[in-house]
């Protein structure tokens, strides 16, 4: 299986898929699954029960007034909150042990969308790398491209022109607005408000329209590349952006009234899925989950990149660390992003949109016909790609879900030697057992949706 196979080397049995009995597949994942209690190691048992802070083995998980964790095995039920489920936001499989409706312990089983992107990343040149990375977090593709490009530029040691920096910030914030709108839509849908789904997608279509106008496609843009951006903003982009952010700003009031006004929504989110600050830190949770516990950690503010230190915006911090706080944080972050976009609108500098270093960015199409040198550069960049000096770098930025980072090692060739993306959803999802413990199955849906996991970036 490892070597490349020539076609038709050995005749695989051509199974006719339509008329026979149905292929019984192997969905058994053995050790990765939630095993009955006697077969689970004590450390793992404590982990699944959500007692994260390493208590000595004998103390019962959590405080004694907690749920009856010692319910006999035949009374409890292990169910699959499985890969194909309307409210798991993709192919997450949560295995839960239930005592009636109360969740005793949980174990996320992931990997159902593993695409081998880090292996593919080692096969593509830096020029092509953004196309692979952009398909990881499919709710904010531009954020992946940004982190990949910034890592490549850090290794190259080049400075991108100011206009490229501001274009990147504009697109990253528009992407945050679109991603949070998408989250509001699916979170509303999960908690029963299909109107929010319609609202959320209607606004998101406007932002996607702007992306289509700027980058050419609605998703998976490959627009932010090492060395700047692929093209300049279309002319007349200011009033497009202005129309979008004014409409969204005005409509946020309706969403607030629609969701916060609903007693059902409040009942299912207030106090549900609570997480304390120590647990969030211990589990390396980042983004709205960490901020909901009261820690004001937003990379745009604390470790600023691009030109975020010159912008005035607030970091939103919650108090209880429950679902409602995470909803309030994301809701207000849309307003903060709109505030940032307004500042970017009137401070966007003119000039080049990509660095003029001929070794890194291809020359404009028109000059290829006139100058032989431009043709050579164009040819070299697109066939062989540009060489990056040897070294390793870890750049991290704030994606709508948390800290997304790219650890890149280069061996001096035109392809990254190792390209690892630290997915915020991969890490945030590990705090699910802590948040789901003791809640109802319905709370599990609300909490999974409030963690906003994107399986593309967690399974990579």
């Amino acid at each position: 299986m490892t070597a490349d196979r020539t076609p038709g080397a050995e005749e695989p049995p051509r199974v006719d898929l339509t008329t026979q009995e149905g292929l019984i597949g192997e969905t058994e994942e053995g050790g990765q699954q939630l095993l009955p209690r006697p077969q689970t190691a004590p450390g793992e048992l404590a982990r699944e029960r959500g007692s994260v802070l390493r208590l000595p083995e004998d103390t019962p998980a959590g405080d004694p007034s907690d749920i009856d964790l010692e319910a006999p095995d035949d009374e409890t039920m292990i169910i699959n909150f499985g890969p194909q489920h309307p409210s798991t936001h993709g192919v997450l499989r949560l295995m839960m042990e239930l005592d009636g409706e109360t969740v005793l312990r949980t174990k996320p089983v992931i990997g159902y969308l593993h695409t081998g992107m880090e292996k593919t990343g080692e096969e593509l040149t830096y020029q092509q790398g953004a196309t692979n990375v952009t398909r990881m977090d499919y709710l904010s593709p531009l954020t992946n491209e940004l982190v990949f490009s910034m890592a490549a530029e850090a290794l190259l040691g080049i400075e991108i022109p100011p206009r490229a920096v501001w274009i990147r910030m504009l697109l990253a914030e528009m992407q945050r607005v679109a991603s949070h709108l998408m989250w509001l839509a699916t979170n509303g849908m999960d908690l029963g408000s299909t109107t929010m789904m319609i609202f959320g997608f209607r606004e998101r279509e406007m932002v996607l329209g702007f992306f289509e106008k700027t980058t050419g496609v609605r998703m998976n843009h490959n627009f932010i590349r090492p060395g700047g951006t692929a093209a300049d903003l279309p002319d007349g982009w200011e009033d497009d952006v202005l129309v979008i952010i004014d409409t969204i700003d005005a409509r946020l009031e309706d969403y607030d009234q629609l969701l916060t006004g609903q007693p059902i929504f409040r009942e299912r989110t207030e106090g549900v899925g609570a997480l304390t600050a120590e647990e969030a830190l211990a589990l390396s949770a980042t983004g709205p989950i960490l901020r909901s516990t009261g820690i004001a950690w937003d990379l745009r503010r604390t470790m600023p990149y691009l030109k975020y230190d010159e912008l005035d915006f607030d970091v939103i911090v919650g108090t209880y660390g429950d679902n409602f706080d995470r909803y309030a944080i994301r809701f207000n972050e849309v307003r903060e992003s709109i505030k940032i976009i307004r500042q970017v609108l009137d401070r966007m500098p003119a000039g080049d949109y990509r660095v003029q270093d001929k070794k890194v960015t291809p020359p404009p199409r028109a000059r290829i016909d006139e100058s032989m040198e431009a043709l050579i550069h164009h040819f070299k960049i697109f066939t062989e790609g540009f060489k990056v000096p040897e070294g390793e770098v870890y750049t991290a930025i704030e994606s709508p879900r948390g800290e997304i980072a790219c650890y890149m090692v280069s061996d001096g060739s035109a392809k990254p030697y190792r390209m690892h993306i630290r997915g915020p959803s991969f890490v945030n999802m590990q705090s699910l057992p802590v948040m789901l413990r003791g809640g109802l199955v319905a709370d599990a849906i609300a909490t999974t949706s409030s963690v906003d996991p994107v399986m593309g970036e967690s399974d990579r």
Partner: protein, 185 residues
């Protein structure tokens, strides 16, 4: 005796049309969103591109109540048996749309982790190109499926002979033996 034993003559012509018309106009997809295509599939379901104009009002979560499986996204090796299980549990008559190049041919991820084309696991009716296919493309795919239902056979949707005749002679599709779908028992 069942619909499939119906003789094709002028007496049963109208009945077939009626059955096909009713099936065509109420195809309910099962939510099988995997990756980026799923976001576009959801966008098709909402107000801007509204598929409920074509009778696909609601995305059924359980395969028992669905007629169409839109494989929206890349199918990993771990997901292949799950996809086959959900397909088997769907009620007859059922159709499959392979949405996006990753589902149709493995797309840009020609590596160990992705099943190179979902037609190695489930019989596919319509392939939607694009990465991700824009909602208009998906709507066009759905209309193609409706056309296929309207003109196709009532139940002998894909007899084995038809599937084989479509293949290019001399080229047998390479089916990696590690697609974790065991032969039927």
């Amino acid at each position: 005796m069942g619909l499939e034993d119906l003789q094709h003559n002028f007496l049963t012509g109208r009945l077939e049309d009626l059955v096909k018309w009713s099936r065509r106009n109420s195809v309910w997809p099962v939510t099988f969103g995997l990756a980026c295509c799923a976001i576009e599939m959801m966008a098709v379901g909402t107000a801007d591109y509204d598929i409920s104009r074509f009778g696909m009002e609601v995305f059924r979560a359980s395969p028992r109540q669905a007629d169409l499986m839109i494989v929206a996204g890349r199918v990993s090796q771990k997901m292949a048996p799950v996809l086959r299980q959900v397909y088997d549990q769907m009620m007859e008559p059922k159709w499959v749309i392979s949405m996006g190049v990753c589902a149709s041919t493995g797309g840009m991820f020609n590596n160990y982790a992705i099943v190179q084309g979902v037609d190695q696991i489930v019989p596919v009716d319509v392939y939607a190109p694009g990465c991700p296919p824009s909602p208009e493309t998906l709507l066009h795919t759905i209309l193609t499926l409706h056309e296929k239902i309207r003109t196709g056979e009532i139940t002998q949707r894909r007899s084995a002979a038809a599937a084989r005749s479509r293949q290019i002679p001399g080229w047998t599709p390479e089916r990696p033996d590690d697609v974790r779908v065991a032969t039927p028992r």
